[in-house]
């Protein structure tokens, strides 16, 4: 890459790194793995930087790369996630007002949601994408996004129960 392109990439990286890292964290539930996935997404972006002509589509490109990497990893034998008949007990923090406590509770609950459904929930409620945007990011139909959202929320509620309503962050 030439100097101008490198500078452009650096600006984008500094602006988006933390957001991408946060998304990766909710997708995989672990900050260290989130760092790995986010870094891998930025490395891929750097390698494809010259080929991505639509700079407005950078966020979508990184998002798609990240989600695909996390979902693919969840399918690998040594990290394969298993569906369980009964969702794991989640220790719900009574006060529900602390951000860290909220994170623990929600992240624990998200672990019980299948990876694709989890990705839909994260894209819709963290990234703020609509159904169409989520479908583009995941490479599926809008109908699939709707059904995955529904299933994902059902799974989340089955774990959190009424606690979902109690988790009202003050921050």
């Amino acid at each position: 890459m030439d100097e101008a392109a490198e500078r452009e990439f650096e600006e984008y990286f500094r602006a988006r790194r933390d957001a991408v890292r946060r998304t990766a964290f909710l997708l995989c539930g672990d900050w260290h793995r989130a760092d790995d996935h986010a870094q891998a997404a930025f490395v891929a972006l750097h390698r494809h930087w010259r080929r991505i002509r639509d700079r407005a589509a950078l966020d979508a490109w990184v998002r798609r790369t990240l989600v695909r990497a996390v979902v693919d990893e969840s399918r690998r034998p040594w990290r394969r996630e298993r569906s369980v008949a009964e969702p794991a007990d989640v220790a719900v923090v009574a006060s529900g007002s602390d951000a860290v406590a909220t994170r623990h509770v929600l992240v624990d609950a998200l672990r019980s949601v299948p990876p694709r459904q989890r990705a839909v929930l994260v894209l819709r409620f963290l990234e703020g994408l609509d159904v169409a945007g989520t479908a583009v990011a995941l490479g599926c139909t809008e109908g699939t996004v709707k059904s995955q959202t529904s299933h994902g929320l059902t799974a989340l509620r089955s774990v959190l129960g009424d606690a979902l309503d109690d988790l009202r962050p003050t921050a």
């Binding site: 946060r22 900050w31 260290h32 760092d35 870094q39 490395v43 750097h46 994170r103 963290l126």
Partner: protein
């Protein structure tokens, strides 16, 4: 606040970095990793290219005969091949890798008038369609000049042997004409229908002709003695 907004607020809070470990990578790490991958891929590409190049070089050096015989397989066997195979042990004598049909045709067009001397072959396996032997055969039977090469096998003959088999047409009488030369010391099994003659060099020439259909007329039947005598004097 509706349900979606509440969930969005909840997800944002859950993804907050309060209490999270500091970010483990920076811009420099991304650049370094990207360059490492680029270098690794370039190296892999160059290495695989060199490996292919080396394999092709080794292959063409070790197996020169196989690079020039596109038609020389039993898969291209002509219709008369089964009869030849069933009728003559010598005619369907195993042969080693050598020139095939296309090379033979090319060789025929540029066939030297001087016939290579008989004796030990230059390779491990005899030529399955010996151009020199064919040139001699065409001298005594000019009608076979345009004949297609007959089917041969992939079995290796000793290099001193010579062999040629042609699909011939003797004024409407089709068949397979086979000539073999065995160097001195090689014992030839007598097979019915074959003419065997000792050659000038102490070897043996074997001439046979098979009809295209069992029981049919044999091409050049009346001239086989002449062929055997002509070749014997020159081999």
């Amino acid at each position: 606040m509706d349900d979606d907004e509440r969930l969005a607020t909840l997800f944002a809070a859950a993804a907050s970095e309060a209490g999270a470990p500091p970010t483990a990578f920076g811009h420099g790490d991304v650049l370094a990793a990207s360059r490492r991958i680029t270098v690794r891929r370039r190296t892999a590409f160059i290495t695989s290219g060199l490996a292919v190049f080396a394999l092709l070089g080794i292959g063409s050096a070790v197996l020169p005969g196989y690079t020039q015989q596109p038609d020389a397989t039993s898969a291209a066997a002509p219709a008369v091949a089964p009869e030849a195979a069933s009728g003559s042990d010598q005619a369907d004598a195993p042969a080693g890798p050598g020139s095939g049909g296309s090379e033979l045709s090319e060789g025929l067009r540029s066939a030297p008038t001087d016939v290579a001397p008989p004796g030990s072959g230059t390779g491990v396996c005899a030529d399955r369609q010996d151009r020199a032997l064919r040139a001699l055969l065409e001298q005594v039977i000019p009608e076979v000049s345009g004949a297609r090469p007959g089917a041969v096998t992939d079995i290796c003959l000793p290099g001193g042997q010579r062999y040629v088999t042609l699909e011939v047409d003797d004024t409407g009488v089709a068949g397979l004409l086979v000539v073999s030369y065995l160097p001195p010391g090689t014992v030839a099994d007598a097979v019915a229908g074959e003419l065997t003659a000792p050659t000038a060099s102490g070897g043996t020439v074997i001439v046979s002709s098979r009809p295209a259909q069992p029981g049919g007329p044999v091409p050049f039947e009346a001239r086989l003695d002449t062929v055997a005598a002509y070749l014997a004097a020159r081999l």
